[in-house]
């Protein structure tokens, strides 16, 4: 049976809201694999500031990125990055698992596509109002594309 259009649109608009510094970021829920307490990260000398290092998750190597730095968020009052959001990035045929160090996973929200104001064409899909806050809506597929 075909999924009704409205249900499909609602599923695609479902996001996990994550706090990264002073920003709230909306990650497509379908790309979120798990939210865990911050994983132990081993640094990679010479890496860009966005890349915190390498961790182990489920027996697999996991690059861990700092979500706040990815979106240029001013650090919050307590920048401890206590959670790691494990997500899939990249195109469907070549997706890869990445950890995003963040301050908190907040809630699951619906972000209607028509409410998103255009972003930078890359990781930042755009901005959208959620409740009384403007959130950054992220395109995780873009994060995994070759630069």
């Amino acid at each position: 049976m075909t999924e009704p259009l409205e249900a499909a649109e609602r599923r695609e608009g479902t996001h996990l809201l994550v706090r990264a510094g002073e920003y709230a970021c909306a990650l497509p829920l379908a790309s979120v694999r798990r939210v865990v307490r911050a994983v132990t990260v081993h640094p990679l000398p010479g890496a860009a500031g966005e890349l915190e290092g390498l961790a182990e998750f489920g027996g697999e190597p996991l690059p861990v990125l700092n979500l706040g730095r990815l979106v240029n968020a001013p650090p919050g009052a307590n920048p401890a990055y206590p959670v790691t959001v494990v997500v899939w990035v990249g195109p469907a045929g070549a997706r890869e698992m990445v950890g995003l160090a963040a301050d908190a996973a907040l809630e699951v929200v619906h972000v209607p596509p028509e409410s998103v104001v255009a972003g930078d064409g890359g990781l930042l899909l755009g901005e959208a109002p959620v409740g009384d806050e403007v959130v950054r809506v992220l395109d995780l597929e873009a994060l995994g594309r070759e630069a």
Binding site: H42, L44, E50, E56, E60, E146, A147
Partner: protein, 108 residues
């Protein structure tokens, strides 16, 4: 009998690195660390963790290459430790053995 396809695991700069045992020509302690001879060059290690077989090596994903410019042989996990597998022909800068620095250490 062919040599087993093992990897020498070492610790350096806060991370764990692996290099194919077949590429290692020699290993010697130098000061507080180690000098590992590979081909025409040498690598430095703070600690030698041992040799392991059967490391499942994953290719470095685009997102890693985007934020870390080093050429590597791949990524793996040993126990709960993530391992960067080194390409012995192009070792990361953090692993390159500084002959001058270690020679100075030896004179003290």
């Amino acid at each position: 009998m062919p040599a087993p396809c093992g990897f020498l695991l070492l610790r350096r700069a806060g991370g764990v690195w692996g290099i194919a045992s077949a590429a290692v020509a020699g290993l010697a302690s130098r000061g507080a660390g180690y000098r590992i001879a590979v081909g025409e060059g040498a690598l430095a290690a703070d600690e030698i963790l041992g040799v392991v077989d059967g490391l499942r090596v994953h290719p470095a994903a685009p997102v890693l290459r985007r934020f870390w410019p080093e050429a590597i042989g791949g990524l793996a996990v040993h126990g709960r430790l993530p391992v960067v597998v080194v390409d012995p022909r192009r070792p990361p800068a953090a692993l390159r053995f500084d002959e001058g620095e270690r020679a100075d250490e030896g004179r003290e």
